[in-house]
């Protein structure tokens, strides 16, 4: 019994501590069963925007891009006077690429920070958060999730990034039409985005009349891609489509060269990641890949400001987030700081001059974005052509 009292005391004090930590001046009224519309009925002093970013764990590199792009926009807008005279604040929570954590932080952002909109990232986390967006009637905005078919899952999801399907379709067309190749092998990372990309490529390429002669995958964190390359080689492909999200793509490029497997290679947007470029070295020369574009004109300024602020060059996801914040700010400007208002305001956006190109949201709340093809020439990512 003494131990029971011990535990009860510990639990009680733990709960008390937690409650005190969360609600320093708790009002006597508890929140009602149906949550009040987020954003509150009284105008807050600061316009908060929530963010669910992978700050630690396997996606942490991306978390850096997302947050740096977003924060740059926030800082610039605030320096210019804010939105309707109020400052913007980005409340970043770490989702650790874990759905249960994602659920908890989404709730926290909506209930504790009272945000009407949350930037969500990473498919497995985001999909768990969408039901909560529906339930709390808040806007879930992604400038990072590339899984196809997102808009059917919720009325509240907006997307400002090139989907994996668009990239793959563009690449399939390029390989078939411009390069005249008919037999391609795909090597892809065994996770949702890359798998979706590889599957969509196969569908699109075979519809055009080509054939995917071999498909092999590798696990997250794989460093030895040679067995996959050797197996794929036995099917005699004319080219390899390399789909992934991290340094493993670079090891693939490097090791293909080392084992003497020289066929043209193609890749998705992640080829531009510093991790990948460093691992691949000069073997990356001549590889063509798809990417959402940083618009050459509108982004020139952005690139130098970003470099000045963060010390590195931006890549397309930082650009997507930069635009996302600016579009959200515009929506608040036109329709007010409520979830319904932001939703309407975003839908009304037409031809927004983003650093990732002119952006509008279609009826399915997907941004119309351009895919472009780039190639590594003299070690530098170089624009090749745009795709309609």
């Amino acid at each position: 019994m003494a131990r029971f009292m011990q535990l009860a005391a510990v639990l009680a004090s733990g709960l008390v501590a937690l409650t005190l930590a969360c609600a320093p001046q708790a009002s006597p009224t508890a929140s009602p069963a149906a949550p009040a519309p987020a954003g509150g009925s009284r105008e807050p002093d600061v316009y908060k925007i929530g963010a669910s970013f992978p700050m630690t764990g396997p996606g942490a590199t991306f978390g850096t891009f997302f947050s740096q792009g977003s924060l740059l926009a926030i800082e610039e807008i605030n320096a210019a006077g804010g939105v309707k005279g109020k400052q913007l604040e980005l409340v970043i929570e770490d989702n650790k690429v874990d759905p249960a954590t994602g659920v908890a932080i989404y709730r926290k952002l909506v209930e504790v920070d009272k945000v009407p909109i949350v930037l969500i990232t990473f498919t497995n986390v985001g999909l768990a958060q969408l039901p909560i967006a529906d339930e709390t009637r808040t806007v879930a905005f992604t400038a990072a999730m590339i899984t196809p078919g997102l808009s059917e899952k919720s009325e509240w999801i907006f997307r400002n990034t090139v989907g994996a399907d668009l990239e793959s379709q563009a690449m399939a067309k390029y390989i078939y039409n411009e390069r005249g190749l008919r037999r391609i092998a795909t090597i892809f990372q065994n996770q949702d985005a890359a798998l979706a990309g590889a599957q969509e490529f196969k569908r699109a390429f075979e519809q055009l009349g080509g054939r995917v002669v071999a498909e092999e995958s590798y696990d997250i964190g794989a460093v030895d891609l040679r067995p996959q390359l050797l197996k794929v080689r036995s099917a005699n492909p004319e080219g390899i489509y390399n789909v992934g999200r991290d340094a493993s793509m670079g090891y693939l490029v490097k090791q293909a060269a080392e084992i003497g497997f020289r066929v043209p290679q193609f890749a998705n947007t992640s080829l531009e990641l510093p991790d990948v470029i460093n691992a691949a070295g000069e073997a990356i020369e001549g590889i063509v890949y798809t990417t959402g574009a940083l618009d050459p004109e509108t982004s020139r300024d952005f690139v130098s400001r970003y470099r000045q602020r963060w010390g590195t060059d931006p890549e397309v996801f930082a650009g997507n987030h930069y635009d996302a914040i600016r579009m959200i700010a515009k929506a608040i400007e036109t329709n007010g700081y409520t979830a319904e208002g932001i939703r309407a305001g975003l839908l009304a956006i037409k031809d927004f001059p983003g650093v990732t190109g002119k952006t509008s949201f279609d009826g399915k709340r997907e941004a119309t974005k351009t895919v472009i093809l780039k190639i590594f020439r003299n070690g530098q990512p170089t624009f090749l052509k745009s795709v309609d």
Binding site: T56, A60, T61, T64, N190, E216, S217, Y218, D219, G221, V223, D224, R226, P227, Q228, L230, K231, R233, S234, D246, A247, Y251, K254, Q255, A257, E258, I259, G260, P274, D275, N278, A279, A280, G281, E282, A283
Partner: protein
């Protein structure tokens, strides 16, 4: 059949680096039977040591070995020895080792970030062997593995230290009776094993760079190599490394690459169940750590 030959050759190439990675862990595990998860962290730390010295690439093994040796000694002296003095059980060592691993991995992440850092960029020059081209680097690693195998064999059978290490592996009580201080010997073993890990880390980082979370993967490779080759027989770890490399390569012949881990671990479990002494291990010494 070209592909089969290529996969076999590739298995040896990959196996060579596994063998070098496994040697340090084997030395420590065979002698102390501590499930030294933190070895993975020591390995990663050494890798970053080499990374810091990448401007002087041929000499970058020095900080790697130094960092690793110091780390290994510190872990033994500050963590394992106190637990031993208090008669810790298996789980105590295991959890403590895990704790050390958390500390080191996250400290490295704080300092260096999560990206993979490379010591050098790009592919190595290769030489063609017909069905496959092999880089000069991999040939070097192969040489290192073979030399290491021979050296270890010689040391164990012909030198006093070698015999003392074998004695400690077979019967820890014996060393006290022989007047060898078991605690001192333990520190030496950790120092040596970690130094070897440092060398392995340098070689690995040379090819693939470093990441804060690579330690666990490496530890598993080392542990599986040791089991396959035989616990208690040091050169067995090297053979085990080659076997593991071959296994991982050849899995792809009949199966899709998605089943690589399943097959590897299924083989591990089968070996644990039906031939726990591995291919070359002597009689099994079970001992409460």
């Amino acid at each position: 059949m070209d592909t089969l030959a290529a996969l076999v050759l590739n298995g040896f190439i990959t196996g060579a680096i596994y063998a070098v990675m496994a040697l340090g862990f084997a030395l420590i595990y065979n002698t102390t039977r501590v499930f030294h998860i933190a070895h993975g962290a020591v390995f990663t730390l050494a890798g970053y040591g080499a990374f810091l010295a990448r401007a002087l690439l041929p000499l970058a093994w020095v900080p790697a070995v130094v960092f690793a040796t110091i780390a290994g000694i510190l872990i033994e002296v500050l963590v394992y020895a106190p637990i031993r003095r208090r008669s810790g059980s298996l789980e105590t060592y295991f959890i403590a080792s895990l704790g050390v691993y958390f500390i080191v991995q996250n400290a490295l992440q704080l300092v260096f970030g999560t990206e993979a850092r490379q010591l050098r960029s790009g592919p190595f020059e290769s030489v063609s062997l017909g069905v496959i081209s092999v880089s000069y680097y991999h040939l070097l690693v192969l040489l290192v593995a073979v030399v290491a195998f021979t050296l270890v064999q010689l040391v164990l059978t012909h030198t006093r230290t070698g015999k003392a290490i074998r004695a400690l592996a077979d019967n820890p009580g014996l060393t006290a009776a022989l007047g060898i201080d078991p605690d001192r010997l333990q520190v030496v073993v950790f120092a040596l094993g970690s130094a070897l890990a440092g060398l392995g880390a340098y070689l690995l980082a040379f090819d693939l760079g470093v990441r804060p979370d690579m330690g666990l993967q490496i530890l598993l490779i080392a542990a599986i190599s040791v089991i396959l080759g035989g616990v208690g027989y040091l050169p067995g770890a090297i053979i085990g490394g080659f076997l593991l490399g071959l296994l991982q390569s050849l899995v792809l012949l009949p199966l899709s690459s998605v089943w690589q881990n399943v097959v590897t671990f299924a083989v591990l479990i089968l070996v644990l169940l039906f031939r726990p002494q591995g291919l070359f291990g002597g009689r099994l010494v079970t001992r409460r750590a």
